[in-house]
């Protein structure tokens, strides 16, 4: 993605690497970390699935948002409103 809006504070010190690399449609596709020394594909799959299942549980939590979460929802909504107002 394009990070050229970054200021000079260092927030996007990692901007010279792509922050959104190829995202496969296949849910079972392995993260890129499998090419790291000392990591097996099976271990990566187990950890990936573990984190993912926990995140899915959180995502599907039916409880109403906390005030902090609502602030985040409102901010995202404003962001998307500006995003989608620009085209289409």
């Amino acid at each position: 993605m394009n990070d050229d809006w970054s200021d000079t504070t260092g927030e996007r010190a990692f901007a010279d690497i792509p922050t959104q690399e190829y995202v496969p449609e296949d849910r079972g596709a392995l993260p890129r970390v499998v090419d790291l020394d000392g990591v097996s594909e099976r271990d990566v799959r187990v950890v990936d699935a573990f984190f993912h299942e926990l995140a899915l549980d959180a995502s599907e939590d039916p409880s109403p948002p906390t005030s902090e979460e609502q602030d985040g929802v409102d901010a995202i909504a404003q962001f998307v409103a500006r995003l989608t107002a620009s085209a289409g």
Partner: protein, 220 residues
């Protein structure tokens, strides 16, 4: 953070009208909440891998996924999956990517770095980190993966059903129906075994339990 770009045009949609229409229809506050909760859990991975993660990082993950989808940077086929599933997948990959690059490219929040004295210190730290670890493997991430996988297997060794699910995950069988087909579990068996497996974080060693302590609350 992405929501600080108040004055910038954010669009540039290159998608088909059908995709844009589907995006607009599915981009709701309910999706934002679900995606934000999902991102908060995944944010723990890069944080534990050594990346500086501030409280706005999960929101940034969501906004980046939505923006990249709207702009066409991330391909999305509404006929194949919902926008929420697509965003979740993008967040998952971004978290792994950030974890992989955690030590080489530490995250510094803009509002923290804006403080003059702190800014200088952090800037120096960033450069030192990049210089000293530019060629180093993200050993913390490797250690986290190896240790967590081993601990989960150890803790599940007396629970045949939980172990069966771990085996499925290791073989890239992750969807509920696929796991049930392979294990011949009933829906109730699968649900209970999955729940027990997620609760294993309670029994992880202290250094891993800390990493999972917040996650645990979501599984209760």
């Amino acid at each position: 953070m992405a929501d600080e770009r108040d004055d910038e045009p954010l669009g540039g949609a290159s998608r088909s009208p059908d995709v844009l229409a589907a995006f607009r229809a599915q981009a709701t506050p309910a999706l934002y909440l679900a995606a934000q909760r999902f991102a908060r859990q995944w944010a723990k991975l890069p944080r534990r891998a050594g990346r500086r993660v501030d409280h706005l990082y999960p929101r940034e993950l969501v906004q980046d996924a939505l923006a990249d989808t709207w702009n066409g940077t991330l391909a999305w086929d509404p006929a194949r999956r919902s926008l929420l599933d697509h965003v979740r997948n993008a967040i998952r990959w971004r978290a792994w990517n950030d974890a992989r690059h955690a030590k080489r490219f530490p995250h510094v929040a803009w509002n923290t770095a804006a403080n003059d004295e702190t800014s200088v210190r952090i800037e120096v730290e960033v450069h030192e980190t990049q210089a000293s670890q530019a060629d180093a493997a993200p050993l913390i991430l490797v250690g986290l993966i190896v240790t967590l996988a081993a601990e989960l297997r150890r803790l599940a060794e007396h629970d045949d059903e939980a172990q069966a699910i771990l085996d499925c995950w290791a073989d890239s069988i992750v969807e509920r129906d696929d796991v049930m087909a392979r294990t011949h579990f009933t829906a109730a068996q699968y649900k209970a075994a999955r729940r027990r497996l997620l609760y294993l974080v309670k029994h992880l060693p202290p250094e891993l339990r800390e990493a999972a302590s917040d996650i645990l609350r979501s599984a209760s």
